[in-house]
Symmetry: D2
Subunit: 340 residues, 4 copies
């Protein structure tokens, strides 16, 4: 079989583990040919191929990012790019495509599958908001990095009696904020799942500083929203839904400083959250997903996504995972709350 | 309620996160009193109490080990220590016990529960071989440390054209070996789940060094066993089932050196695997288990263990988890094999 | 002897190592009494004492920040705070003071010494711009954190063909920028020591992206300044000389994006640079400085600062180190340039 | 110019940083040709060349080991290998050689220089015992790894009331033991510089466990030796002076266990100390030494070694650095002692 492989959407640690596994398992046991595409769907549209052999994947397991490159571009019917994808699939005589990506890539994969191309997808997103799988590639490393940042600002908060506000990624779901918040011992965690009341946050901090300890860590997911009427706040969104002006972290930090008089500082973690060496968990996840995707493709399966469910890797229909982002469950939100 | 709390068996990272969660959730929402015991069941037998308040758990979240101390001792009927446990429970007017421990502690908890004490257990073991839960406290950090060690010997193996044999923990199951092996890109992983044939190992290494690259990483779980007749090997076990003489890593290393002539070196990771700062995953796991255990105790539940199942924390009957160790599933063993 | 001890200025990793060494060496070999002051000079002014014994310094070696707390406050003649310092020294019957701090604290120490108090200072500043010593406490950890951030954005830069601009600390000298830039393989390093020409930066990046690789890392010290006429740029400075509006990183990032059209992203590292676990180097430096300071005080020496010079710890007169910040030498600036 | 480049002796982190700097600086500013040799002096003898261009050094900065490979082989007059070196230098029309290595490589470099070849050396050794330079490549990373191990066994020591003995590298000098011992808060540090008395060690531990805390960390350099008559101890040395049987760590551990009755465990760090990602310090050191070596060669200098002296990189005559290993100074040994 000739199998196309691409990574789409934002980069993250663990992608190379999945690429390596697809190449090793594909070219090894099955004897397939693996055709990589550069820069995500853009490379499929442009026919920008990068044949992948064992020599291309040497030493990539612990390296972040993606050796194939990636782009935030998805093929659509309207601009002819979907046709270009189909043309490339035919020109390269591909029997199937393996797409590694987040929500946008999975949607595109769904549409391409409907157009008759055999497709197996592998979920990656540091936000962890893909439905149907316990974990997506990249999330675990992001939580590690965010927790490490909380550990770091903790010592400064304590030494200077400050409120440290840390803004982390998470537009539609607060997985990073809640997990790093619990692991880093944050006093307040603001996640998109629960619109927050700035008055209550301020009240809680005042009480804590009076009664217990005069420093605090506040973690804010970039997609956290104030409860209606609680705080004025507007954001300006960019082309891909990213926030281009008006960070909720800035606003929350300013409100706390103004209302409490506490020395309050903001840290916006930003791009470091999606970079660097993947944790063992992300390397293992990428490896298992890569092997499972090749197995699925080899068995003729299509329109599915690899998924971690408990201790097992399973296949779930792409149709079931699209739509609303996976949200942090109440149990986890409560743990963040009660351990504050 | 008055709740006793102890940590038993070998120490590991994440125990303090669980202790902290029990104290915060117990003394906070519920208003319980938490009575810690020093050095595991030994402290219960001796009535060596350490009342735990919020000031005792400050800054312990990222600290490995257990602030309560631990011991490899379990109460038994025969020597009167079980009666001593019951006497202490009565003397301290305890409504329930929360026990954090591995297989031995869980067995003891079972027996104490049968004797009429309300008990909720929290599983910890870096070997991850407790049945009924996806993860036990300490395992995730151990995999991180072992993977880091593999990353380190990798560069030396490559620079010196060597076979590096790394022995990791895992007496009854190869969870650390298999996970670290996949994450660290090991060429051979020997786990208790699959008795190994040293001839095949040697054959594989010879082929690899001729055809691909003249260095290799071999990961050996301390409990790995040769297939009958494949290799002479005897171990001497100590009082708690620990290996006191004759490491399988030494034997495997010697056989490879002798049969291949390759420059072969052994590293026995040992105690560093169970020490140091817990990963965010172990801190979160300990926190969730601690909160869930207090919830269970407060609801009057007994004879159960907290367990991670997929994205949820559940309670499973202690009776169901005792006995045979949880083994690494075939899917994961296969991933380690095909990515070699 | 009764010895006062304080930490002043911004917190950083390694302070606790120095405090621990002062307490161990002071109370041990010499039998002195160590009187800590809370929150830097503020605590001396207010007589806010915290007597320090061996139990206070348990397990603090690997912990960032300062267990004494700190504040950006320095005693002056004008407001009576200098008199308050002298009054406290008399009230507490102190034979000498050990002050751990940066430029501001060292200046204050100088003035207090002139007023007749025996003083030995220990230099700390993550900026490493204290004259007379190869290293100050906190700098080494900051370089590690900044390098780690460069490693992380590196993979994203490469995967997305981006220019990643990273702003690091360094108001008067570019030690963090230059060292992390070299260690992290940055293509451009902008430091206060060499006013930069934005035209040349842009030209260099355009050439690189055409000829070699279409991604780049640009490190900007917060105190970097454009060559006159090269780029419009104004900053607003706060009370302690800190930048409160108009970051040079933002400006440089915007200019590069506008002039090259390359996808350009900014990361401002901020507070994480001064937090977290000290590196072994900072723990050793703090330990050696602490022991040396106690030795100096015990020998009756005053008006000096501990200093690392090559492999030796020496004492240098405070009078010699005040004034202009220590600048990055040309050799190091050149290494950053030629390895771009 | 045509410049040969090799790495000899044991591998360590930071070698690739030096190789990268030699290639960048050599091929860049100067327009030299850089000819790498595989596997140290062995490759020079065999004429096993590996021409190095900018594409060979991409992304190697954070990677441990050496991309050129290395071997513990040194050319000698007696076996004709010295003549083979000279023949290769002529055949490849080399104007000079840059050798990166430890004591053995530096000695060989000296002899090759005497035979008329222009040579500049760069010191590397994780033991840090090369005279004339504050630091050699690889040492700093080794101290970090050893300190991390001490941090890890610390939590287990405390949780289980144990004595943890950790054996680290250092045959002729105790640089790793003393530095990691200070950074990791060890109670006892045994280094080759000071023959130890096991009776005093045991007495100290007994006193500590009675008076202060019932756990301890003991760091032993592999080259530590008992004071005459204090403890029976013999080692068997291999071909390159490495210890092949009878580790001092084992002996010390057994003595402590026997004489004190304390639960005592040994960890031998071994190969992990020389592997993995170089610290920023080792990357910077390798980079500076690489640039300086090319500058020296280009200026026609020969028979020198690059050296770090305080904040400067200097050149020292090879003749001055051979012979006795650089020893840990008394000041540092004393800090380890007084902070115990």
């Amino acid at each position: 079989m000739r199998i196309g492989l691409l990574t789409g959407g934002g980069d993250c640690p663990g992608l190379n583990a999945a690429i390596r596994a697809v190449v090793k398992q594909g070219t090894g046991e099955y004897g397939h040919t693996i055709i990589g595409f550069r820069n995500g769907w853009r490379g499929v549209v442009d026919g920008d191929v990068h044949p992948l052999g064992r020599q291309d994947i040497r030493n990539v397991l612990p390296v972040g990012g993606t050796l194939l490159g990636t782009a935030r571009f998805h093929p659509r019917q309207e601009d002819g790019s979907m046709d270009a994808v189909l043309a490339t699939v035919e020109a390269e005589r591909l029997d199937a495509l393996i797409c590694i990506g987040g929500d946008g890539t999975l949607h595109a994969a769904s549409r391409v599958a409907e157009a008759g191309v055999k497709i197996v997808a592998i979920p990656k997103t540091i936000d962890n908001d893909v439905e149907g799988t316990d974990l997506s590639i990249g999330f675990h490393t992001a939580v590690n990095i965010a927790t490490e940042a909380l550990d770091r600002v903790h010592t400064t908060a304590e030494s200077h009696n400050r409120v440290m506000v840390v803004e982390v990624m998470g537009r539609h779901a607060g997985w990073i904020a809640v997990n790093a918040g619990i692991a880093g011992g944050a006093e307040v965690v603001l996640a998109p799942e629960e619109p927050f009341d700035i008055d209550q946050v301020v009240k809680f901090l005042r009480h804590r500083h009076r009664a217990h300890a005069n420093f605090s860590i506040v973690v804010v997911a970039e997609g956290a929203v104030p409860r209606e009427g609680s705080m004025e706040f507007t954001q300006q969104l960019g082309r891909f839904g990213e926030i281009v002006a008006g960070s909720v972290g800035e606003r929350v930090s300013a409100e706390i400083a103004e209302r409490t008089g506490f020395d309050t500082r903001l840290t916006v973690l930003g791009h470091v959250q999606r970079g660097g060496e993947p944790t063992p968990t992300d390397r293992i996840l990428g490896s298992r997903f890569g092997v499972a995707a090749v197995d699925a493709v080899s068995a003729g399966t299509s329109g599915v996504m690899t998924a971690l469910r408990g201790e097992r890797v399973e296949l779930v229909p792409l149709a079931e995972v699209a739509g609303r982002p996976k949200r942090v469950p109440e149990e986890l939100l409560r743990v963040a709350r009660v351990l504050a």
